[in-house]
Amino acid sequence: MTDVFVVGEHLQDAVTEVTFELIGMARELAAASGGQVIAGLVGSGVTGLAATLGGADRILVVDDAALELFNPEAHAAVFASLLSGTGASVALVPYTSTGMEISSHLSESANRPLVSFCTSVKIEGGLGATCRLYAGKIEADVEIAGDGAIFAVLSGSSPAAAGRSGGGAVVEQTANPIDPSALGTSPVGLILPEGGDVDITAQDVLVVVGRGIASADNIQEAQALADALGGAVAASRPIIDQGWLPKSRQVGKSGLTVKPKVYLSLGVSGAPEHLEGMKDAETIIAVNSDPQAPIFGVAHYGWVGDLFDLLPELVDRLDGS
């Protein structure tokens, strides 16, 4: 029997989708071994949210005004305490901005191995996982020695619906085991984004440029194509970090999730963090000079070649048509 602990995540009064994905994954794992799914939810005013975690058997709630804003140091310590209290040997942590602060700490505090970038996890027949390494290019099967581990799981690895119901869903209040004011981290506040010039989540057609576009000037060519298609230009993260386009144009894990009718990428490799934000687009067309680019794994149509050869051909055919 193996109990499976899930690190619950929430932001702005809602439990995140990935939390349900992990609870669903944990249900399958626990069912196979006759164990329970135990979810943790930590924050201020989160008791109401606990009721939504219907896929868990037990929901451990630490509801404390001192944990209002996610605090990397405090949340890591609280989850370490919750995990050790349950005695669960397996924990699933979302591989997200908040989970990244927590997983390594659980590994160190529980002295359990940690496996990151997981897309699936197994318990029966020995602990193991499948992981995405090298920006999604390589898939690795991993075996773990011993009877326990922490798994940091990528978003989108499992259906969320399976985590919404089917558990005993007993909510248990737990006192905050730590004093956040004694820690070295003081949250200052949350900052919401300003609206951008273009709402890329509302577009039917997105021309998405990646590092393959090579310079800020070349974005004009992509803009010409987007204009011809009545759409907008969006981008992968490095284009935003270079300052070539505003943050509001970023697709992916730390950007926006888009589901346009047509998503046409030019020089985007398709790292897992990018795929998270676009894999549900209706028609995905990918252009990349590298036949190994992981973007072709989610694309419906792909062409291997130089985007700069293709762009003028496309604009020619669409202009004045």
């Binding site: 590994s107 390589i138 075996e143 028609t283 694309a299 055919r317």
Partner: protein, 254 residues
């Protein structure tokens, strides 16, 4: 403010990856290595902080890649004060072991901030920065996108998602996993790198390589499915453009 930046080489993402004979690892014999791109951002942020509020930047490099020294000289040329190469000819280490090595090296240094990249593409067992923070019991922020130095503390911006960020004041010393520096990492002239090679600011430090606990073992690797579900368009750019326009039109657009 004194910063230490932890640098790791990773296989060059631009190169074609090949698997070894028994399909349990990359074929590392012919791999070229480059600095982990997020570590480059960590270095940039440390240099910006130094330019704004003084202090020093020390870079620590671990890894047996031939290119490691070049990465350290490049960091010196960009403005780091001191570079330390940890060990020589160290094989591939788990992140848990890497964190032990870095933590041991940090014990001999005086620092306010430890910065490293938010992640590396081959970090199977966790993120280096957060492991170091856990080992040293220090405050930490991962996915950091900006640092402002204060008196005895530092204000760090952390990114969540969808453009939402939060700010934290951290007591120092603290550890940051840097996603992106406030500006793109700087380039440096080859002549300056040559100068750095003559500077004597690079030293080597012997390390004790922790035994690999062997707790996380890769048993098989394969190229991730690429294009298996996609219709791959053949032909030159003209043929491709023809077909792509057709696809877009059949989706009701264009």
């Amino acid at each position: 403010m004194n910063s230490v930046v932890l640098l790791r080489p990773v296989p060059d993402p631009v190169e074609e990856l090949e698997l070894n004979g028994d399909g349990t690892d990359l074929d590392r014999d012919y791999l070229g290595y480059v600095l982990n791109e997020f570590d480059d951002h960590a270095l940039e942020e440390a240099l910006l902080v130094k330019e704004e509020s003084g202090g020093s930047v020390t870079v620590l490099g671990l890894g047996s890649a031939d290119e490691m020294e070049q990465m350290l000289y490049t960091a010196l040329a960009k403005g780091a004060d001191r570079a330390i190469k940890l060990g020589d000819d160290v094989g591939h280490l788990s992140v848990r072991a890497q964190a032990d090595v870095f933590a041991a090296a940090l014990a001999n240094l005086s620092y306010d901030l430890i910065l490293t990249g938010v992640q590396a593409a081959d970090e199977l067992d966790g993120q280096l920065g957060m492991r170091v923070a856990a080992k040293l019991g220090l405050p930490h922020v991962s996915v950091a996108v900006g640092v402002v130095a204060g008196e005895g503390s530092v204000r760090v911006t952390k990114e969540f998602w969808a453009g939402i960020t939060a700010q934290y004041d951290l007591r120092m010393p603290a550890v940051l996993g840097v996603q992106a520096a406030r500006q793109a990492p700087r380039y440096v002239a080859v002549s300056l790198i040559r100068q750095a090679q003559q500077s004597g600011n690079l030293s080597e430090e012997d390390i004790e390589v922790p035994a690999d606990p062997g707790e996380v073992k890769i048993v098989a690797v394969r190229m991730a499915e690429s294009g298996s579900g996609a219709e791959m368009i053949t032909g030159d750019e003209a043929a491709a453009a023809e077909r792509i326009v057709e696809i877009i039109r059949s989706a009701g657009k264009g």
